[in-house]
Symmetry: C2
Subunit: 247 residues, 2 copies
């Protein structure tokens, strides 16, 4: 029943922590025992403990900080977007995820998001409208505009109230970030593209506010495919730049 775990000392640590989470001994905001204590308690080396904690950190489950006091040490945070983003970006880089599949998945998820928002009343869309207003500023560079665009789409996902979809959307977006940016440089007349995207955003949000789920879904679909087509993004597109940070 204990499920033989002969090798992989770090897995012992990982499974121990997972069990603590499932049994409620650990919850968001709690501090994990110190690395040295875990090492002693589980009978493994401290380096093995660190390998497990590193995995949890990258996956967005814990945050580590040096020093002393209540904010130091490893603290459970359960912030999925960062880990999901890292995983997606790496899988795209390693060709485990074709770029085209990432885009298609984005279409599916985003369509569901706006349809949900349109169909259900009472969703808080203040962030969405705030981003929308921020993008109405005219003299934005492509980078600035796309950064706001990412925030807008993420705000939509978060407004839908589904943490899983919101995290996935963030991850998908991060995974293709460098490609989207590279694609923007292929667009000759950026100002007109920006104004077109602006208009489409407003149309999407209007459909949501009107409660027209089908229109919202259709418009977001056209919006995304339209940009990808204009940016010349093909599945085999490559880029050298990195998303950086976020890790």
């Amino acid at each position: 029943m204990t499920d033989a775990a002969p090798q992989r000392a770090w897995r012992v640590v990982l499974e121990h922590i997972e069990r603590d989470l499932l049994d409620g001994r650990l919850a968001p905001g709690d501090r994990l025992p110190s690395e040295r204590d875990l090492s002693a308690d589980l009978g493994v080396g401290r380096s093995s403990v660190r390998e497990a904690l590193r995995v949890l950190e990258v996956m967005g489950l814990i945050r580590t900080a040096t020093g002393s006091g209540p904010q130091a040490g490893a603290i459970v945070i359960a912030t999925p977007s960062g880990g999901l983003s890292a995983l997606m970006r790496l899988q795209v880089a390693a060709q485990g995820f074709p770029l085209a599949d990432v885009m298609r998945t984005r279409l599916v998820l985003e369509g569901a998001v706006v349809a949900t928002l349109a169909a259900e009343d009472g969703r808080d869309t203040t962030d969405v409208h705030r981003m929308l207003a921020a993008m109405d500023v005219t003299d934005l560079t492509a980078e600035e505009f796309l950064a706001l665009d990412a925030q807008l789409h993420l705000a939509l996902a978060e407004a839908s109230g589904n943490a899983v979809i919101a995290a996935m959307m963030a991850g998908l977006r991060t995974a293709v970030e460098s490609y989207v940016l590279a694609g923007s440089r292929e667009i000759a007349d950026w100002p007109s593209m920006a104004s077109r995207l602006r208009a489409e955003h407003h149309a999407i949000v209007d459909a949501i506010d009107d409660g027209d789920a089908d229109a919202a879904r259709q418009r977001v679909h056209d919006h995304i495919t339209g940009y990808y087509t204009a940016a010349g993004l093909k599945p085999d597109t490559r880029s050298k730049s990195l998303g950086e940070e976020s890790w």
Copy 2:
């Protein structure tokens, strides 16, 4: 431009490997340099290299093996499902992902999958039909049945040809595996439930084969919500069992 990365020696390793992947210096099937070589080349300790490799391993990007020869060492594999499963399961355990959101996401993705399959001809659904036949065996335990059920739904996702969605489906499924299993024990008349699920599966696949996307989407939606309702799965449901393996 090099993006100051003063601290976090393991991030240096991670970013170095990501860059190698993006630039094509590393591709699936390739072997990474040995830990000792990486350590020396990047000027970090071997333990830091190991932390980075551990992350990549859990995320399904590399596979490590001891010994010598072409199969030993760290090899790029880019198998996303394992890492995504681990991440989802941990996030659910840490309450980063409400169970209800996982289920809703599954509805969205699976609906898109069957709709795609129905709309497009030429998809290879032999695996789907094989699983369907395997489940027609009558005297299956709930565990056996649900294991096949998971494979069937995964086969559907894979048949749709979208690696991202397939991996997400696998991850979502793994995340709620223990809860689904626990829910099955709440069902008094399992045999009748099994036969109902069987019939629904056949109906879904029939709709796909008939090219009726709307019917397929509706049926898969009812199928999933039906089971969840019958199993009494609520967002706050808790369980102590683990999915084990699969890491």
